[in-house]
Point group: C2
Chain length 707, copies 2
């Protein structure tokens, strides 16, 4: 019952204190002084009145109903107090007390007990080890923040895994006049975590934009599922803290070593429609853009300005954006501007109305640009250059024009002191305005990303090849596990891949020279010949690999050479024969891999093969479920994609074959959670319509996840 | 005499107006109301008094001396008014009037005349077509800004090529309480441009940090020379506007097509010690860090915080920085912190003093961290979490500790409303503080870059090979120019390169099969054989190239084949013979190129060769003069550098050979300004100490520059 956390009619403060520096006092003071209109009951066994409110020795002694209880008592007493609250039918609680999981096993055990009680009695709990929450619609500061002030009411909800960071943001939003709906410090997430919170906010009419600061997620797959649904209704914008600290990990694959700790989060956020930003100021710059504006429906931005320099800066950022375009104006727009604006005005995009622009000129230009069907959104830039136009007058004009338009308008008022009359008008109207051009373009970029997110289906359509009907992979994997083999080499790994429909070179094993010749003829010359022995791991040690064997005579000679050399250099080895494979010429090498993430499951990787994979780290990642369009976007995302799509007259590689291989690999690792890492490296991809071949592979069965 | 612009004792406002909306009125009003203490004389032929000041019909009628004149009269009258000013011995002037160069040839001609007068009489002129300047030490607002307010006095000087942007920044600095020394709008730069300004600011005791917004530079090489000198004394931080707009250019080299318009600026800024940032907020975030702090002398940053989340965000940004490190504390530091701080406190870097940290705990931790020889700078983070410590008290403490320390301290106070008591203390002391952790790390990064800049010599030592004593290149180039050849192919281009000591494969031309065999034996097998004919441009059209010819017998056969095929397919061609070259095996391909920039001269490029050059754009650029360390840094800068330095057990390539080739190319293009573009592609580089070979080259002689 999360709504009782945000809009309770009555609150009991368990552990309310008379001493002003104690959290139990501050929490009570904040609820009272922030303007909370409901009933507040301090619970204190010794005191009779605190802050002029009657005290009760226990929550059970309170006469009326209690919707929500705040716990500010030592950790060891919380369980008993919660049981009291249960008997009083309290519906929600905030445990600000620390000293639980974060202190060790004993604290964790206490948490477990509290969790069980809350679950049984369906009490929604925030914390423990949190600073509480703020709900502006209830005029309620239920935190131990240093002052009881709360931000003005708005439609942004911010939640944070760091309590201190939430306090910093709280103080900042008050000063910056940013409207908030809710601010929540999640703490140890005993009950309410980011998943439950997203579910609640999905239908919360007071929340239009969801912002979050996260350091870690426990249930990645569930989180993605909810986020994917909620993000289609409301923008979710997040900062992820702790992105670079690389933990010590034992990984044996390229995929694992290239992934780092952040790749899975990056992929999961992207695939579930979360807009990720890197810094806290960006979080709020972007949030503003979703409050009182129309949604951006296309990439083309028109700019109307009274000053060149700021428009140049905006254009610089815009042209670097991968999702935005400087709108190409239609001829009609250009002609209309030319006919109606004074000479000297810039009539192309950006429209430069020059320093003496007045209200009429701005209005005419904005309306003309808005009407252009090639324009999806408009950025209005104003610099306080002359007194023709005051910033507040222009701000009101922009708000009015935006109200009548189906397209979004953002404003940049460059300045501070004089421009602040304009900021005030915008701020009161919750209208998106910025002080610097770069911020506005960044917000437009987020708006465009959000448009793209809304175009994607909530449930990705997953192509199933139903390869699991084939039991080869299962048999090989079970045998390996029984035999304690955790690393499978090329031959076995490729066999498993092949059983899932991934193309591998035909591989025949000849026991005699004549058989080798027959097989080579069957496969077609030239061929590759390799020694086959379970006892010879490094084939090159026994000179056991020959490339490019080109005719029957050579096959015969090479067969004997390989066998004789192996017998002399590894006399005790059991030799099964010599493998005959088609010599693969041409094509381009790519890597397709998987490493399993503890939170998000299989993390797939794609990149160009060879030395470039490691050096340039030009790879892309996705988590599951992986739709066909996502698999394709994964291929197109790498910087080296033109090398595959055909650059300088080279032939286009068979992108479809790569895509299918990625999807089949996804199916394989979904069916077999025992596979912890898998690299197909190289996967040789040929010209369009000529498919590709997995030439080498490694597979790890660790039993445990790699991250 | 630039000092008369910034600290005049008397000002004449030529074109002062009674009408409040006219620029000539606003300019006068601003000078008077901003608190200028010197004498102000309005010049107006009709009026008797304006703003209670006596008017004069001409500057010549003014009784006293005039240091500086402001011109706010129509463009066509400026020259005559300037001549009047000359006769009055005015020493400096600001022409705010527009209608000059920017309007066409007539305006440009007027500018030239004004320029000549100013030069002859040594008058320093700002403008025309500018908004003027502000000098806080003179309490003077000599602009037509919308209000006469000026920022508080400080040590930052900001100049701008965009007047509107200067006005926006002016208004912003007033609101944000940022201290400025000067703010200058450069306008059309008739006299004072960025070069003269830098020269003046170099010795201006009121300027400690120089900020600039530039869109274009006219005299790039002179600018670099001055900037290189000034940047060793004072940080120069710049935003360059207009970075992405790609002009239509006719380029024929890879270097030219990869360079874009921004590469030369990027290289020039870097090589002359200018810290380039991308946005205006960053400009001032960085500037703050150089005012009242010690210079950072190493990369290792210690963090002291009372809250985890913000420290994590700071660490994230820090670890991504290419120049900073999270300081590894010495054992002594860790032990001292452990012994003296309460349990639960984080004693490693970042030191987390947790929420109840008071003044004593902060002081102890900061002092301990400062003492660690492995720490070069300290970031103090504070979140208003509890009431143990007020922000103003901590701010005063930090300022005091910083005053006693030889290492810089920056502060992040996360918050706004409550934290503002701390901001106030910092702001009054001009102490570097930030509201978000990312900003502070960004400032530390700039501080570290500045440290590195100061380590570099002002005059780069240029290695001269004195190849110009050899006249081969000159002869070939002159002949080509006389014959009207602007594109030189591989053979000629390589000959020119070779004359400058760049290694090329030995290339002998055989006229008979026997001669071919002799030459091949001399060069060593295998060889490459190619048809040589001035009439056959595409050798492959006549099947005129054979690789890997491996013995004498083959050479004979191939020679005849090549000649016969050429004779039959191109019967009218004059065939000179067949060239014999060593077949080059192994090694790695790189590209070394040059394209000439109009402002900055030769722009050198280095990158990995082949398809990756174009696709991944993994290339680096430098302008001249190019020192040996800069040439080396150019090689190391590309992302693919590990491919050359040896990755996964591969041999290290001969980096020295690449470096020398770059330096020799630099000498060649310095000696021959006729060369507009030159690509050596590929340059084949072998294992360490095995040198490299220029295998192919293209050279353009355009006569004109390429950009």
């Amino acid at each position: 019952m999360l709504r009782y956390l945000f809009n309770p009619k009555s609150i009991a403060v368990i552990g309310a204190s008379r001493e002003p520096e104690k959290l139990g006092h501050i929490a009570l003071r904040n609820i009272v002084l922030s303007g909370f209109k409901g009933k507040v009951y301090p619970v204190n066994q010794a005191a009779r009145r605190i802050l002029n409110l009657k005290c009760y020795p226990s929550v059970r002694n309170i006469p009326g109903n209690i919707d929500m209880a705040m716990f500010s008592i030592p950790a060891q007493y919380v369980l008993a107090a919660l049981k009291d609250a249960v008997s009083k039918r309290v519906k929600a609680g905030i445990i600000i007390t620390a000293g639980f999981k974060e202190t060790g096993p004993q604290g964790a055990a206490m948490e477990k007990e509290i969790q069980a009680v809350a679950k049984k009695h369906k009490i929604s709990l925030i914390g423990p080890n949190c600073v509480g929450l703020i709900s502006t619609s209830a005029s309620m500061n239920a935190t131990f923040s240093i002052t009881p002030k709360i931000p003005r009411q708005g439609e942004i909800t911010f939640f944070s895994q760091s309590g201190a960071l939430a306090m910093g943001i709280l103080d900042w939003t008050i000063k910056e006049q940013i409207g908030l709906s809710k601010l929540i410090s999640l703490g140890n997430k005993i009950d309410v975590d980011e998943i439950k919170l997203l579910k609640h906010l999905e239908n919360d009419s007071q929340t239009k934009v969801i912002l979050g600061y996260l350091e870690g997620i426990e249930h990645g797959i569930e989180f993605m599922k909810i986020a994917r649904r909620v993000s289609r209704k409301k923008p979710i914008i997040m900062v992820k803290g702790g992105t670079t600290k690389a933990g010590a990990r034992a990984v044996s694959s390229h995929t694992g070593s290239l992934a780092g700790r952040d790749a899975a989060y990056q992929a999961a956020f992207r695939q579930s429609g979360i807009i990720r930003v890197n810094t806290l100021p960006e979080l709020f710059d972007v949030a503003k853009a979703f409050i009182k504006t129309k949604l951006l429906k296309g990439p083309n931005i028109g700019i109307v300005t009274n000053s060149g320099g700021p428009a140049i800066l905006a254009t610089d950022v815009l042209e670097k954006s991968p999702v935005l375009e400087l709108a190409p104006f239609g001829n009609k727009t250009i002609e209309t501007l030319r006919r109606n604006l004074p000479p000297g005005v810039g009539i192309y995009n950006p429209v430069d109305l020059i320093a003496d622009a007045d209200k009429a000129r701005y209005t005419f230009a904005i309306n003309t640009v808005l009407k252009d069907p090639k324009v999806d959104g408009v950025l209005v830039i104003y610099t306080p250059a002359t007194s023709e136009l005051t910033p507040d007058e222009l701000a009101r004009t922009i708000i009015e024009l935006a109200g009548k338009s189906a397209k979004p308008i953002f404003a940049v008022f460059m300045g501070g002191e004089f421009a602040s009359a304009g900021f005030k008008v915008f701020s009161e109207a919750h209208f998106p305005y910025y002080q610097m051009p770069e911020q506005a373009i960044f917000a437009f970029e987020a708006a465009m990303r959000y448009h793209n997110i809304r175009q994607q289906p909530v449930r990705p359509v997953i192509k199933r090849f139903n390869a699991h009907a084939n039991s080869i992979a299962g048999k090989i994997i079970n045998t390996a596990i029984i035999n304690g083999h955790s690393q499978l080499g090329a031959e076995t790994a490729l066999k498993i891949c092949a059983s899932y429909g991934i193309k591998v070179p035909q591989n025949l094993i000849a026991r005699t020279a004549n058989e080798a010749v027959r097989m080579a003829k069957q496969i077609g010359f030239p061929v590759v010949m390799k020694i086959v022995s379970p006892d010879i791991i490094h084939k090159s040690d026994v000179n056991g690999v020959r490339l490019n064997v080109s005719d029957a005579e050579d096959v015969k000679v090479v067969f004997d050479e390989i066998i004789i050399t192996a017998q002399s250099r590894a006399p005790s080895a059991h030799i099964e024969g010599v493998s005959i494979q088609k010599m693969v010429a041409g094509g381009k090498e790519v890597i397709i891999g998987m490493a399993r993430d503890r939170q998000f499951g299989p993390l797939l990787m794609f990149g160009l093969g060879g030395i470039y994979v490691e050096t340039l780290k030009d790879v892309s990642f996705r988590v599951l479920p992986l739709s066909e369009p996502e698999a394709l976007s994964m291929i197109k995302e790498i910087k080296g994609y033109p090398i595959l799509s055909g650059v300088r007259g080279e032939a286009r590689a068979d992108i479809e074959a790569i895509k299918e291989t990625i999807l089949r690999l996804a199916e394989l690792v979904t069916d077999f959670p025992q596979i912890s890492e898998l690299d197909i490296n190289p996967f040789k991809v040929f010209e369009n319509n000529h498919g590709g071949l997995a030439l080498d592979a490694r597979l790890s069965l660790k039993g445990t996840d790699w991250l």
